[in-house]
Symmetry: D2
Subunit: 277 residues, 4 copies
């Protein structure tokens, strides 16, 4: 939630939980002192909470959101979220994701993989996840998009991970899954936007390469940044070396972003993210 | 402050400030869920606070600390803290500290430098800070300690920074300045405790070297850690290279720790630190 | 190769290759100036090399190694190396390894997985690699070791990766695979040797946790270090958080070490490694 | 030196030193396999070298550079290099530089400081270095440049360090000191070129901030990169926090670049640097 900051705002807002039998198990807050906005993420146990679960949003809205001008999102954590993975030909990110799922590190369901290439079908088979090969060409793009959207909808997908999916995401999909499509870009954004960032990095002679995970917005590689990291390179590294070193960065940075998203710890505002602890 | 965790504890404790006309300008809290302890650091503006400044501790103690079993420290930020610097022969840490003071980065007073060597006297002169050369030998240690303690006391020192001071700190000084003596150790503690950690790191063939800033306690290099960082080395690095690369680490790690101490953002408990944001 | 340093040693030793029609495609050298030892790693193309491949070692030995006191290893890169993986119950490292193999990042063969637990058998199935469940108890250890050694020998294993294998490696296996058993230890060695390093790190209140990949030697966690890295933690992190953050470190650090081993870029001497670029 | 790669090129070129009584004390080489160019940096002891020092360049040119198409630079290390420092109002970089000089870490001479502001004059006094206050306005720029160039020339300056000097360097100075003017830019170039990079970084919501040291070329912030590093930030950091955290980055990154320059370990080609070990 976020709202204009005011004295005692934490006490006021947590009162909703404390007074109604909720037990707070997580609270992180932050005040943007420049714009005087109060941000808070709070989790509580519903066991003894006296407000019925399906009425919590309504009560909070009436009693707090309207009087205090609070913008809030409420999630009841009663089922794993459902993630779709989009891939093209590179396997390092999807393997990293599926290995985490398989080991129980993440409590998510992954009902489908969508790809514009058939190359990674074996990975779907390895992990028993339906792999939908939907070629995308300029001509077939509208049809492919429709097919993708139907699959996403039929599978009740909560959020999408672009695990090195090398296609522009159509506006309609971005609209339907606003701040729910996570991309990994293989550069330290905003440096090297667009295609072939490792070539550009090599050309420029940088001494560090990076990877950036962000939510997809209509403007290419310009969405809210969730996580970034870098690794050191030298003049000895060829473009192939950058690609190889970059892979480890990409998969880790993407997985960190996914984890924060699964934990619902990312609040997006003004094209920036607040990532709670 | 810290106390046993309980529902609504933030609301309860911030009530003291909100209800009495204080305006909270900083709040960070953390719950140790393993031990069920609530930690909070809060800053507020005293302008309209209705409790007289010299009575705040008393009121808070009666109304909150006793009922809720709160362990608290209260600081009124009405004067710069007074720092003493201890050095031996290496200048990189003290220069880093004095440069920050000179540029106005830190609002501290540094009334004196104490050293067991005369080598860095010129630095005292450069920055107009009295430099007290007090040799320390096994024989003269008690006398030297007494002299040091008198200087610290006369200068009303709040905390001490050991900027690569190569002497064991006597028990009496540790007792008087408990959790107020900050040391920099040139290793990634607890690896390489004691003398010559770079030699030991070289010998062991590590691929990273570190530096650790901690509060001094009677057990050598075993006090609560405030800050650590590392830098990468290779087989090509000689011990001299480690010493050189380590200097940059040491000064930055020490200065980060000092900054957190000046901001009173470090809470020490059970030989560990909570470093607030 | 390594030998006592002397003027012109590079020219002398590369002469063997240049004069006989070899084309050097990689050369990295390093002089330990403290001990006056010259180290070099050189790769050359055998296409036009006039010395028969099976006689290269003999010729080099006679013409250079004996006269110049050169200690050398020669590898003909005509087949993928054969790696055995040992695991227990944790899957993050083995998944990282198998994903690299599957994507073609590493040119290795992995003919078998050995485990003291049955838990990860499905991973063997996913990647079509025989999974040998060999329980190890104090009583059965000698027998288990014999069984393991036979499997390794039958599969013509070149090197062994302990991908979080939670058993002490018996002396006999260490002897047979000297500097060919790569372990990942979940701490920044030499800090926190032995069991439960994350618990020890939590207890000590460090601000960084690390992982160390090293060759196994008889002394526990004391073998030559190949690669290390760290990640930042705070007081908010529980032991479970350390375990989770550590997993990403462990798998990346282990895989970096394996890569260098596959490339034969690691020279081990005096319990330290020289890792060529 | 660099030249087209060819078999035995190391042996050929080091022959010049070995055959004439020179003792090589440092050698690092690198082959750009993409463009087939050989790069080498070599240091040797002149004590027993039979070619007179003032004729080395001539001999090498005739015997090797012409036949093998070698582009080389020769430096005789018989005097400290002479560095000029340009500053504006911020002191963190210049203090870091002068502290290293004062401690003997760097064997350089610093005959003058030039500034477009009078603010840091006290630092010149502290370190006994003449401080030349030369205001720069659009009107006075040509005159100021002439005055600066004369000072540089009179002081026989070898290279210039822009220690957060907030003025565009005129073309004439760039020409005279080609690849000898080191700047520190407070971003991870090529992200956030130009003024106010911390504001731009804040606006974009990046999770890491950087600093880049590079040689000055006519195109703004586009010269060959020598060194870069980054530090982690969060949504909690205000622009002032970025500025503060950035200062530590800037000074360390700049000093690392200066050190490599002093050691003559930077070879610049095609707007990129090769930084020898």
């Amino acid at each position: 939630m976020h709202c204009p900051d005011r004295p005692g705002i934490i006490a006021i807002l947590t009162q909703f939980i404390n007074a109604n039998g909720g037990n707070i198990i997580y609270l992180d807050q932050y005040v943007d002192t420049v714009n005087s906005i109060f941000y808070m993420r709070v989790e509580w146990d519903l066991t003894d909470f006296i407000i019925p679960t399906d009425k919590i949003a309504d009560y909070f809205n009436t009693l707090y959101a309207l009087p205090y001008n609070v913008n809030f999102s409420l999630y009841v954590n009663n089922r794993p979220q459902r993630m779709a993975i989009f891939v093209s030909k590179m396997s390092h990110c999807i393997y990293d994701i599926l290995a985490r799922k398989a080991s129980g590190e993440w409590d998510v369901e992954i009902p489908l993989i969508i790809s514009n290439h058939p190359d990674l079908e074996r990975i779907g088979q390895q992990f028993n996840i339906p792999y939908h090969y939907i070629p995308v060409t300029p001509d077939t793009k509208p049809e492919a998009t429709a097919q993708q959207l139907k699959l996403l909808s039929d599978s009740k997908i909560d959020f999408i991970v672009l695990a090195r999916y090398m296609q522009i995401i159509p506006q309609e999909m971005i609209d339907r899954y606003k701040h729910r499509i996570i991309n990994i870009h293989h550069s330290f954004l905003p440096a090297f936007i667009g295609a072939k960032p490792y070539h550009a990095a090599y050309q420029r002679g940088v001494k560090l390469i990076g990877a950036t995970s962000h939510y997809v917005t209509p403007e290419l590689d310009a969405g809210p940044i969730i996580e970034q990291d870098i690794t050191r390179i030298t003049h000895r590294d060829t473009i192939n070396d950058l690609v190889r070193k970059g892979r480890d960065l990409e998969k880790i940075v993407l997985s960190r972003a996914i984890q924060k998203h699964i934990e619902r710890k990312i609040l997006t505002i003004n094209n920036k993210t607040i990532v709670f602890s």
